[in-house]
Symmetry: C2
Subunit: 199 residues, 2 copies
């Protein structure tokens, strides 16, 4: 399959690419690196990315940003930042690609553990993650041409534990190999409308 991986340079994107590259033709995309540069906040940039990539059988998105903070320090703007930069970005990728991905292809989005196993500073992330789970559940039943859509929800990655572990007390980091497998399950398997936890 030809698979475009948006956010390929990040820890999760690398995990997906490592698992998929031996068996598939990978096109990497990202804001500042990759075969194609794309700004997911810009519909024109997304359209140009699909145009440059040509027909693809699967789309992976491993890009997204949220604000972290204690509830007392959060603001509506901070939640909105995550909803725009982790949720709407991925939705826009799906909306723009629903007529371009080949018949029977798939979209695999990325959320994260914090809506099922929360941390104190994680309500912005949890809000975005929950939104993505709701989106794929509903979008799956209205996809054209047998397209499928799922969201992988990884725990803290081992490779990210040094950087973020302090705000994830007691979380058992997950291997990049297991995260990569979840993308393979979504792309090579048959599930749709699912949130796949990697705990």
């Amino acid at each position: 399959m030809k698979i475009i991986v948006v956010g390929a340079a990040g820890a999760i994107g690398q995990a997906a690419c490592a698992e998929l590259a031996p068996r598939h033709d990978i096109v990497t995309a990202g804001r500042s690196s990759g075969d194609i540069r794309v700004d997911l906040a810009d519909a024109g940039s997304i359209a140009a990315m699909y145009e440059a990539a040509g027909p693809v059988d699967a789309v992976v998105c491993a890009a997204g940003e949220v604000e972290f903070g204690r509830l007392a320090d959060m603001t509506g703007e901070k939640y909105l930042f995550g909803l725009k930069n982790k949720v709407l970005t991925q939705i826009n990728l799906v909306l723009a690609g629903q007529d371009l991905v080949t018949d029977g292809g798939s979209f695999t989005l990325t959320s994260g553990i914090l809506d099922r196993d929360p941390i104190r500073v994680g309500s912005g992330s949890a809000t975005a993650n929950g939104a993505l789970a709701g989106f794929v559940k509903a979008a799956a039943i209205d996809m054209p041409r047998g397209l499928r859509i799922n969201v992988v929800s990884p725990g803290l990655l081992e490779v990210s534990a040094q950087r973020y572990g302090a705000i994830f007390p007691g979380h058992d980091p997950v291997s990049s190999r297991r995260v990569g497998l979840a993308y393979a399950k979504c792309i090579e398997g048959a599930a749709t409308g699912q949130m796949l936890p990697v705990d």
Copy 2:
């Protein structure tokens, strides 16, 4: 308890009020009716509402709007409308109230069934509903002074079935009585961080 119910004039707000009013002091609020007028998109209006209400023991929000449409007809703006008008509005109500609700009090938000039992035109609603479930799960562990927070997620109400039933094929409408009970469970019970389905 003194309970403020935002969106009290709607079908869900009426259901909550009918259950709670015999045992509690209810202050109704809404955009165009109620004891207090409030615009949840306006932080100043929310602050003025809390000021007018005085100390409250519980806050119910049964207000929210989303865009409905087939995936092929949806746009990023339509999802953003729901995220702003059903999710951020309720989050803003919590943020503004977290220092004002009395010790041990509660927030009870409202989502809906479409992220667990989707309909074709419901991905905007499902996205917002999922976001609210994620938010309360995470916010619950960072609430001050023993405050609790939950979200009631009702199915299509019997009283709304004539208006909306056509887009909910096979859904079995729920009684306003059962919807009202869910708010009582949240306010008079001890749960926190929960999504309470009313199916």
